[in-house]
Symmetry: C2
Subunit: 355 residues, 2 copies
């Protein structure tokens, strides 16, 4: 078959997403919720099936030349491109550093591909480039290759940045999203929902007395500290798009276990809580960019928490719940008033273009 | 310094691109010509300075765990997203495979990040995903990780695909853009300008009797054949954006040598020649997506050509010129009528969004 020939593609297998229901891609297909999951599981995974992809990690784990590498990519389309606490350049670097960190890897090298809309002020590009450079230096990674494309006005939106990273996974590290075991503890590194609320506040022009800043930060040092303190850690996740609710739902489904959260334990800034009420958002579904979830066996939970609290990015780390054998695949929360509610995957999109 | 704090960025160093002349990013900054080169050299390289980036290859060469890896990224924004001979999915896979191949690497793993405009027909997405899958299988690479984002209508253009690749560089391979030596021969694997003309024909709704197809194809097997036949090969390039003229200008500048081309030796399909005349394009500057340039020492040129012609993608390989000590940094061409003309870097943009 010539590679220039579409050949049987035109008459190939039927689209696995029901066209009658979803004739076109919706914003929600990129939101990190149920529709994103469906698109990935029904369309992408069967086509690109291979062991590395099927691990369903934040990135792929590759064996190469006797070493284990983590390899991960993220397209950043956040709007606005500059926001309280950061900008798209910093977010693009930290986001990929964090995906590598969640694979247990030491982040080493990044590639950056820029898609710029014609008319982006040159000073703004310069600011973003310096921000990427500063974030890379802070995280101790090198941006070693890149690409720049420019599209016409109205065919892009300022700038999109795709960052792809390579990291080295130390020997002995083994984390899997399907490894959760009843009795495991759910640890969270700090206050939730700050990134999403910071972005939305700017978009909506809201003021909350004090400016709520994005929590964007590189989590690899915190992750490595957890791995040292709790070597049996099952898995780590940085709860970005879809918040801690989506991340925990994915893990509960992968491991076929239940997860019970304690509402009163989940840390949140008062102004973030207020902003979420005003905006009608459930903070459990709002994106974080500098927090991680670690699921650890009960007997390593205390030492993991000590290690987390010793890191500047984990000062407020807490245990927020545990893994159960009941209600497999479902996340529930014991509320402050003594009830229990199901924390489902979102079908739609709460906040488009949050990262 | 807190990573959440812009701090001194706002009052930082002056933008290295003169704002009075270029207050905003132009389409030409992404065209692969002089303005792209200036943006990279003045803004990106000083900020991201590191040995791997500074090698100015199509990708970075990394030492990791005792192995040498090639690492390369490309944002694909081609318009239209389906064109004669291929589509954006096939192009995205082949483009990154080719960048790895030009580093002398065996391509192994790809990451794919999709930025979809809301409203893209689901069937179109499905077609593109199958096309990526088929191209990956044809090239023998695995797509191991990915990301999907969706932006609002009017904030994107159908779909953009950033592919990033990892390849393994066999021991002994050493190619550098600054290694060209007077007397070296310039070899070209086949007919030029087919991809760019195919894209533009569709955009402009032109007909040339026969349909001109993109030459998109994976070049790694051809590249490896050249490396085996001509182990001293100085460097290889796939002349995409900016065509063979831009690729050779970059090499002449990096190596501080002259390059003399022979117009009558440069292979081109008659209909491509006709289309270029009609469209007012110089085919030397028009993008290829399945051709390579190999610069080899004179005493290995014959054996390299034999090897190239034994590959299905190099049947029409020819020597099109040589490296000289005169006119360092400049590419000239001996024309069919006996004259000589300078083949300069383009300042502007011939064909935006060609890849």
């Amino acid at each position: 078959m010539s590679t220039n020939d579409h050949g049987d593609l035109a008459s190939g297998p039927v689209c696995p997403v029901p066209i009658s229901r979803y004739p076109a891609v919706l914003l929600a297909h990129g939101g990190g919720g149920k529709l994103t999951q469906h698109l990935i599981q029904s369309m992408f995974q069967p086509q690109f099936s291979n062991p590395a992809l099927n691990a369903l990690h934040d990135g792929a784990t590759l064996s190469l030349a006797g070493a284990r590498l983590a390899f991960t990519t993220d397209a950043h389309v956040v709007s606005p491109i500059v926001f309280p606490g950061g900008d798209i350049g910093m977010l693009a670097v930290n986001g990929t550093v964090n995906d590598l960190a969640m694979c247990g890897a030491q982040p080493l090298y990044l590639a950056a591909a820029l898609i710029i809309e014609e008319g982006l002020p040159m000073e703004r590009l310069w600011e973003i480039v310096r921000s990427m450079s500063a974030a890379a230096a802070a995280a101790g990674v090198q941006i070693v290759t890149g690409d720049t494309k420019v599209v016409e006005r109205g065919k892009g939106d300022g700038i999109f940045i795709t960052t792809t990273g390579i990291g080295l996974i130390p020997p002995g590290v083994s984390m899997r999203p399907d490894a959760l075991t009843p009795g495991d503890r759910i640890l969270l590194s700090g206050r939730i929902a700050e990134h999403g609320v910071a972005i939305l506040s700017v978009r909506e022009g809201l003021e909350f007395g004090t400016t709520i800043k994005s929590d964007t930060a590189p989590l690899h040092r915190l992750a490595q500290a957890i791995l040292r303190a709790a070597p049996s850690v099952r898995v780590m996740r940085d709860p970005t798009r879809g918040g801690i609710a989506s991340a925990l739902n994915e893990l509960a489904q992968s491991s076929k276990v239940g997860i019970v959260l304690r509402e009163d334990r989940i840390p949140m800034a008062a102004e973030v809580h207020g902003a979420c009420e005003l905006l009608g958002l459930d903070p459990l579904y709002v994106a974080n960019e500098g927090k991680l979830l670690a699921i650890v066996p009960a007997d390593e939970a205390a030492q993991a928490l000590v290690a987390m609290r010793a890191d500047p990015l984990g000062l407020e780390a807490v245990e927020i719940g545990e893994v159960t054998s009941e209600h497999a695949g479902i996340v529930t929360m014991q509320t402050g008033i003594g009830g229990t509610r199901v924390i489902d995957m979102l079908t739609g999109e709460q906040l488009p273009r949050i990262c």
